[in-house]
């Protein structure tokens, strides 16, 4: 694993911009509502590994994703 993301669930607003840009399909839509009525994204159990490319964070309007790389 080269990269890793953490999702700040209360920040996510379910816009799915990150989903659309993640080159590895590492992210998936969520199903559980947070306290603000949105379903934050989750790590896609079927997706490929995160490369730490940070594209998801770059397009995320809500600074809901933090990215780590080795």
């Amino acid at each position: 694993m080269k990269g890793k993301i953490t999702i700040r669930e209360e920040f996510c607003k379910e816009c799915h911009y990150c989903l659309a840009v993640c080159p590895t399909g590492h992210i998936a839509a969520g199903a559980v509502f947070n306290s603000r009525g949105y379903r934050p994204i989750v790590i896609n159990p079927d997706g490929e590994a995160c490369t730490g490319c940070a594209l998801c964070a770059l397009v995320c309007p809500d600074i809901a994703i933090e990215v780590y790389r080795e």
Binding site: G52, L58, P61, I63, Y68, R69, E70
Partner: protein, 257 residues
């Protein structure tokens, strides 16, 4: 592992009040990143608008002063004249800049005030619930153009970058878009350049940022980006409209990225 992406240092850690997919918060973040990178938090004063971004001070941890709707450029003019060694920017929506504030915007630019204007073009009055803006596209339905904007009664969309760049004393004008990673990176570069120009005393700079307003466009966030790339950018072509330090008008690219 090393954290390679989290909120800018000059940010407060509040959840944005913006709608899902709104471009304002991306623009805020880019501004924050630029302020971090240029290490100017301590000398920067921002003038948020009356508009959805009125609460920008909830996020950017810098000195900020609210402007009455449309009057940011007048305020910023005075602040910069009084404090020439500070970095002063306004942050304005299309209603704020091009409707109620067109006089202040026009004249601050015409005087060539050494300030930076971050201009969020989302084709609509976001904060008040989606009324027609000067930048609303022809045919676009809004709550005050229920049959679509008609040129005969509302005129053509106002082209802010084009107009501002035609004024003699403006230094740098670029239109960017937030629809793609490349567009976002380009926007950040533009913001940085604009502020650099101010710090170098080169003069007035404006960065127009095409930005989604899914709520008032009545689209999903992803539909919004698509509409921007396919429709909005046709009316508002991207590119550098003026750069007194470079070539006067770069090739105008019609798609983000």
């Amino acid at each position: 592992m090393k954290n390679i992406f989290s909120k800018p240092k000059c940010f407060k850690d509040n959840i944005f009040h913006y709608c899902p997919g709104c471009g304002h918060s991306i623009a805020h973040r880019l501004l924050g990143e630029v302020i971090d990178e240029m290490d100017i938090r301590g000398i920067t004063v921002g003038v948020p608008p009356t508009g959805c971004a009125v609460l920008a001070y909830n996020y950017l941890d810098i000195d900020m002063i609210e402007a009455p709707h449309g009057r940011g450029p007048a305020m910023a003019t005075a602040m910069k004249r009084v404090l020439p060694d500070r970095v002063i920017f306004t942050y304005q929506g299309d209603g704020d800049l091009a409707a109620i504030g067109i006089a202040e915007s026009f004249h601050a630019a015409n005087r060539g005030e050494n300030i930076t204007v971050i201009f969020i073009n989302n084709c609509v009055y976001g904060m008040t619930g989606g009324q027609m803006a000067p930048t609303t596209l022809l045919g676009q339905k809004t709550t005050t153009s229920p049959f679509g904007r008609g040129a005969t009664s509302a005129g053509f969309p106002v082209k802010v970058s084009e107009m501002i760049s035609s004024l003699g004393r403006t230094a740098y004008v670029e239109r960017c878009s937030l629809t793609s990673p490349a567009g976002i990176r380009k926007t950040k570069k533009a913001i940085k350049k604009a502020i650099q120009y101010q710090m170098d005393g080169i003069g007035y700079s404006l960065v127009e940022i095409l930005s989604p307003c899914p709520t008032n466009w009545k689209m999903t966030p992803l539909e919004s980006l698509k509409w921007m790339d396919e429709v909005m950018v046709k009316e508002f072509p991207l590119g550098v409209f003026k750069d007194v330090m470079g070539k006067d008008k770069e090739e105008v690219v019609t798609h983000a990225g």
